[in-house]
């Protein structure tokens, strides 16, 4: 089953590394969309259906928290799992985003193993899992 994915991060490096890491982790990515901030992400979601969203927190124009709140308002948080990918490690911040409906929190730098683990926790075992 192909997983249509949206990666939201202002760093082109992070977007490229996460895309590569998803492939290395064996996640069956279908359509891959990328956005540089929350505003761009919402524009993409106007026209594209995704099964999974990865988002950073600190971004210009519209940050990750604002994006999550906008998705919540649109009812998308209930149907599309959102994973926060951030350099921040505060447990308070993690609790804050999870209270807003975020399904998982990945701290940077991430590994293929940690990416696979959170995706499987959310979407179920993937091909090749033990």
């Amino acid at each position: 089953m192909a997983i249509n994915t949206l990666i939201v991060d202002d760093s082109t490096t992070v977007r490229a590394v996460l895309a590569k890491t998803l492939r290395l982790a064996g996640v069956p990515v279908g359509d891959l969309h990328q956005a540089g901030n929350g505003k761009e992400a919402l524009a993409i979601l106007q026209d594209a259906w995704v099964d999974l969203i990865f988002t950073d927190i600190n971004m210009p124009e519209m940050n990750g928290i604002e994006l999550i709140e906008a998705l919540s308002k649109d009812g998308l948080m209930e149907s599309v799992p959102v994973i926060v990918v951030s350099t921040e490690g505060s447990t308070t911040r993690i609790e804050e985003v999870k209270a807003k409906g975020v399904r998982a929190y990945l701290r940077k730098p991430f590994t293929p193993e940690s990416v696979r683990e959170v995706v499987e926790d959310i979407l179920g075992p993937m091909e090749g899992s033990a």
């Binding site: 760093s11 082109t12 490096t13 992070v14 600190n58 701290r107 940077k108």
Partner: protein, 152 residues
């Protein structure tokens, strides 16, 4: 509350090794030669229970190597669509996040600015060196300056 230099050094070394497979060796500031081909000054700020700024100055050529190493590409694949400072900005971003946790624990919430990059010529490098207070490195033979200042 300032952050111990030792903590800064440990976090930075771990981050650059884990992300870019590069090794940072502390080097006396006076022994660092100005980078040929210019350098890049990277800054970002944090705010919250404590406020401060991180500064990293590295050669432009090191930005290219960071890009190659972090993206896992060949240098020939770098074209005008790739911002070579972006990988360095992300490195600083990771260092900042890891450092704040190491220094202040896992509970406080900080807001982090978007990292900024500015190109420096040789005179610009020298301006950074003059009066510099922080850590100076050779990172795989690239000179580098790193400082963390806490304002409160």
């Amino acid at each position: 509350m300032t952050i111990e230099q030792e903590t800064v050094g440990e976090v930075f070394s771990e981050a650059i090794e884990a992300q870019a497979f590069m090794f940072a060796d502390e080097e006396p500031l006076e022994d660092l030669a100005p980078p040929a081909g210019g350098s890049v000054k990277l800054t970002m700020e944090f705010s919250g229970p404590h406020n401060g700024q991180l500064l990293l100055v590295i050669p432009r050529t090191m930005c290219t190597e960071l890009t190659v190493n972090i993206l896992g590409i060949e240098e020939e694949e770098i074209d005008e669509t790739i911002d070579i400072a972006d990988a360095a900005k992300e490195l600083l971003n990771v260092v900042c996040g890891q450092l704040l946790t190491a220094a202040y624990g896992q509970e406080p919430v900080f807001d982090l600015s978007v990292p900024l990059a500015a190109e420096l010529d040789e005179a610009g490098w020298q301006e950074q060196v003059n009066g510099f207070e922080g850590l100076s490195y050779l990172i795989d033979d690239y000179p580098a300056l790193l400082s963390v200042s806490v304002k409160d």
